[in-house]
C-alpha cells in the first residue's frame, strides 16, 4: 500500500484545497490518471496519480485545505505496507481525522515535544494566540524542534478560518498575485541571479517559419515562440547546469528538458506549465501540446505534473513590443530565458562591410550563480544562436 499525498504544485505552495475526487475507492488507477482536483492560488489543478494500483481510502474530504505532503488517499498496489508512522500526523482539521490514522510512506518527524505542551518561542506563542493557531498541532522547524513564528504563519496561511467558496477553474486574481509575489520574492531573496543577453539574427528562422506556415491550414501552423523554445531545449542539452532544480542538497541536474512556458492569464497573472521533453519532440508535436497547454491554462484545468515538472522557463514578451526582458528565475529552477520581439534592425552582414535590414531577436538569460557562471551562460547563448541559424534542424 502506498499513500497519495497533496503535491507541491509550484514554488512556495504550502497548501491546497481539495475540490473533488475524480475516482472512487475501489477504482483502478494507472500512472498519470487524474484522480482529484485541487485548488491552489494559481487556480484549480487536475492532480495526477503516479502510483498504479487500486484507490483505497479517501482521507481528505472535498472542501478541506491541507498542507503539501498530507496523506490524501491510500493506494493498494500489492506492496507491503510501509513502516507505520512513528508519530501521529499533525492534527489539522476535522476532515483530516481519518488521515492521522493512515500509514504513511514517509514517516513524519518524530515527536519533538512532550505530550500536552509544545515547545515554542515566545514570539510564536504570541502569534499563535493572535491568529488562533493551535500550537499542539504544529511541528516545529526551529532549534530542537521548537515551533517558531514562521511555523505559525505557515499554519495560519495553510488553513484560513473561513475561506469563501470559489468556482473551480476560476482564478482568484488576488491569490494569484500573492503566489507570484511569494515565488518571485523568494527567488530574488535566495537566488544570486546573473544576467546575459545576446541579439540574434533571426532572418533564417523567420524565413523558414513563413515558408512552413504559408501553405498549411491554420490548425497546423507553428508560432515563433515554439521555434525559439525548441532551440532553447536543444541548447540546454549541451549546458545541463542551466537545466534542473536547486534544493536542500544543492543542484540536481535534470535528465530531460521540460520547458516551463510562461503564459499570461486573462485578468492578470501568469503561469508557466511544463512542456514535457521539449528537446525530444518535433515542432508540430510541441505546437499541438503547447496549444493544449495554453487553452487549459486559461481554462484553469492544468495538471499537477505540468505545474511541478518544469526544469527551466521560457518567457516571451515580444508580442507586446518589448525588445529585451530581464526575467526572474522560478524556484527551484536555476535559469530562465527571455525573448523580446522579432524586430527589423540594421545588421552587419557576414562580409563585415554590408549593412542590411534583418529580423533580429534579443535572447536574455537569467541564471543562478550558485550553479553556473557567466562563461557557461555565454556559451549557452552562443549555441542558441547557432541553432537558430539552422531552423530546419529544429523540426
Amino acid at each position: 500500500m502506498s499513500t497519495f499525498r497533496m503535491p507541491s504544485l509550484g514554488a512556495d505552495m504550502e497548501a491546497g484545497r481539495l475540490v473533488e475526487w475524480l475516482k472512487k475507492p475501489g477504482e483502478t488507477v494507472t500512472r498519470g490518471d487524474i484522480i482529484a482536483v485541487v485548488e491552489t492560488q494559481k487556480g484549480a489543478i487536475e492532480v495526477e496519480c503516479f502510483q498504479p494500483g487500486t484507490l483505497g481510502r479517501l482521507l481528505v474530504d472535498p472542501g478541506a485545505t491541507v498542507p503539501v505532503g498530507t496523506a490524501m488517499a491510500t493506494i493498494e498496489d500489492g506492496q507491503e505496507e510501509a513502516e507505520p508512522a512513528t508519530a501521529p500526523a499533525p492534527k489539522r482539521e476535522p476532515a483530516m481525522a481519518e488521515a492521522e490514522a493512515a500509514p504513511a510512506l514517509v514517516a513524519p518527524p518524530p515527536p519533538r515535544t512532550a505530550p500536552g505542551r509544545a515547545i515554542a518561542s515566545p514570539a510564536a506563542r504570541r502569534l499563535a494566540a493572535e491568529r488562533g493557531v493551535d500550537l499542539s498541532a504544529l511541528t516545529g522547524t526551529g532549534p530542537g524542534g521548537a515551533i517558531i513564528s514562521t511555523d505559525v504563519e505557515q499554519s495560519a496561511r495553510a488553513a484560513p478560518a473561513q475561506r469563501p467558496a470559489r468556482e473551480p477553474g476560476r482564478v482568484d486574481p488576488a491569490a494569484m498575485r500573492q503566489a507570484i509575489a511569494a515565488a518571485m520574492a523568494r527567488s530574488k531573496r535566495e537566488i544570486p541571479h546573473y544576467y546575459l543577453s545576446a541579439t540574434i539574427d533571426a532572418s533564417r528562422a523567420v524565413a523558414w517559419l513563413d515558408a512552413f506556415n504559408a501553405d498549411r491550414p491554420a490548425a497546423d501552423r507553428l508560432l515563433m515562440t515554439l521555434v525559439l523554445g525548441k532551440a532553447v531545449a536543444l541548447a540546454l542539452r549541451k549546458h545541463p547546469m542551466l537545466n534542473g532544480h536547486y534544493g536542500a542538497d544543492g543542484f540536481a541536474q535534470a535528465d530531460h528538458v521540460h520547458l516551463g512556458m510562461a503564459i499570461a492569464l486573462r485578468g492578470g497573472g501568469l503561469t508557466a506549465p511544463a512542456l514535457h521533453d521539449a528537446d525530444a519532440r518535433s515542432l508540430p508535436d510541441l505546437m499541438a501540446r503547447f496549444r493544449d497547454l495554453v487553452s487549459r491554462a486559461r481554462a484553469g484545468t492544468l495538471r499537477s505534473s505540468e505545474m511541478s515538472d518544469a526544469t527551466v522557463t521560457v518567457s516571451s514578451l515580444g508580442e507586446r513590443g518589448v525588445d529585451t526582458l530581464m526575467p526572474i528565475i522560478t524556484p527551484p529552477q536555476v535559469a530562465i530565458i527571455g525573448f523580446g520581439a522579432v524586430l527589423r534592425r540594421p545588421w552587419v552582414a557576414e562580409d563585415g562591410r554590408t549593412l542590411e535590414v534583418r529580423p533580429v531577436v534579443t535572447a536574455s538569460l537569467a541564471a543562478d550563480h550558485r550553479v553556473s557562471d557567466g562563461h557557461r551562460g555565454a556559451l549557452f547563448l552562443r549555441d542558441l544562436d547557432t541553432l537558430l541559424q539552422d531552423p530546419e534542424a529544429l523540426t
Partner: protein, 84 residues
C-alpha cells in the same frame, strides 16, 4: 461553397472570439478595433481564432491573409468574399 449572409458571418466571428474571451463580450468592442489590442489577444489567440473560423466556415485563411481578419469588420468583409 454557398453564400453566407453577413449577419451569419458576424455571428460566427463573434462566436469564435467569444470562445476565446469568456470574460469579455466581443460584441462590445468597436468593429474596426484591432482584436489584439481590444481583446488582449496574443499570437496563440489569433491562431486559434483563425483556426476556429476556418473550421466553422470551411474556408482556408492563408497566413498571408491573417492581417485581414484582425478586426471584426475586416473579418466579416474577408469572409464575405471567401464564401461567395
Amino acid at each position: 461553397m454557398t453564400t453566407t449572409a453577413a449577419t451569419d458571418l458576424k455571428a460566427a466571428v463573434l462566436d469564435e472570439l467569444r470562445a476565446l474571451t469568456p470574460e469579455t463580450d466581443p460584441a462590445d468592442i468597436p468593429e474596426d478595433a484591432d482584436i489584439r489590442e481590444a481583446l488582449d489577444f496574443d499570437s496563440m489567440d489569433v491562431l486559434n481564432f483563425v483556426t476556429g473560423l476556418s473550421k466553422r466556415l470551411g474556408v482556408d485563411i492563408p497566413e498571408r491573409d491573417v492581417p485581414d481578419v484582425l478586426t471584426v469588420a475586416g473579418a466579416i468583409a474577408y469572409l464575405t468574399k471567401k464564401t461567395k
